[in-house]
Point group: C2
Chain length 148, copies 2
């Protein structure tokens, strides 16, 4: 009932219509049908899109989101996957926290160059050794983000 035009979905989510079509193409969302040529969306798509945006926020790829989200063949969100994702996030968070502390230290550190500061050096070493590994995933790209 009262399905939404793609334009309306765009307005309500802040996502460009091009993105919505792209998501549909990738199977992340589905139209309930067409009205003439026009895609019609169930309002529930709004939550789904919020969820997708949320996942992107965390650095999950669209493919990953597609795997996690409920779909026709797979009607519930897989809790184990969620837990796994949460744990991934935990790791990311601690990496970033360490880094932030390193930055704060560097900003406050009295050594004339940071390379002379032992704290910073040990920090660098851990970075170099891969203890702080770069995050694996490809995050959001937002060139012409128009959030209205």
């Amino acid at each position: 009932m009262t399905d939404l035009d793609i334009g309306e979905v765009a307005r309500r989510t802040g996502l460009p219509v091009s993105t919505l079509r792209y998501y549909e193409e990738k199977g992340l969302i589905a139209a309930t049908g067409r009205h003439g040529l026009r895609r019609q969306f169930d309002p529930a798509v709004l939550e789904r899109l919020a969820l997708i945006t949320l996942g992107r926020t965390a650095g999950f790829s669209l493919d990953e989101m597609a795997r996690v989200l409920p779909s026709a063949g797979h009607p519930h969100i897989d809790r184990r996957m969620l837990t796994a994702k949460a744990e991934e996030l935990d790791e990311t968070i601690s990496r970033l926290t360490a880094l932030r502390d390193g930055l704060h230290h560097a900003a406050a550190c009295p050594a004339s160059t940071h390379l002379e500061c032992p704290t910073f050096q040990s920090f660098l070493r851990s970075a170099a050794s891969g203890t702080l590994e770069p995050p694996p995933r490809t995050p959001p790209h937002r060139p012409g983000r128009r959030v209205a």
Copy 2:
């Protein structure tokens, strides 16, 4: 002072030589000179590369790193920039923390679908409203990461 061949730098940092050349092209690192055709690097480049890797870890772009790193014209790391970056990181961290908590909740939540769970819903709303905005930057891409 026993300058290093690019291959040696690669071995010691774990970065592919192609990446090192790319970084040089972008002005992130500089060779002290050439031995024949071959670039020679001051061992100090190793710390610099660790620093770059570190920054990438945090999601900073190469351009940003170039701005933050000491260079010929700008010999010290700008502490204010570091502080600013640390604050950016703080924001990212709290976004991710909120998200992680949301995920944990969703995994544990007894509601049959997450859309019925009020906690999750309010969470979604905040995501949708942009309170949890996607991180602005383009993070690492590591297709054939060969850490030896």
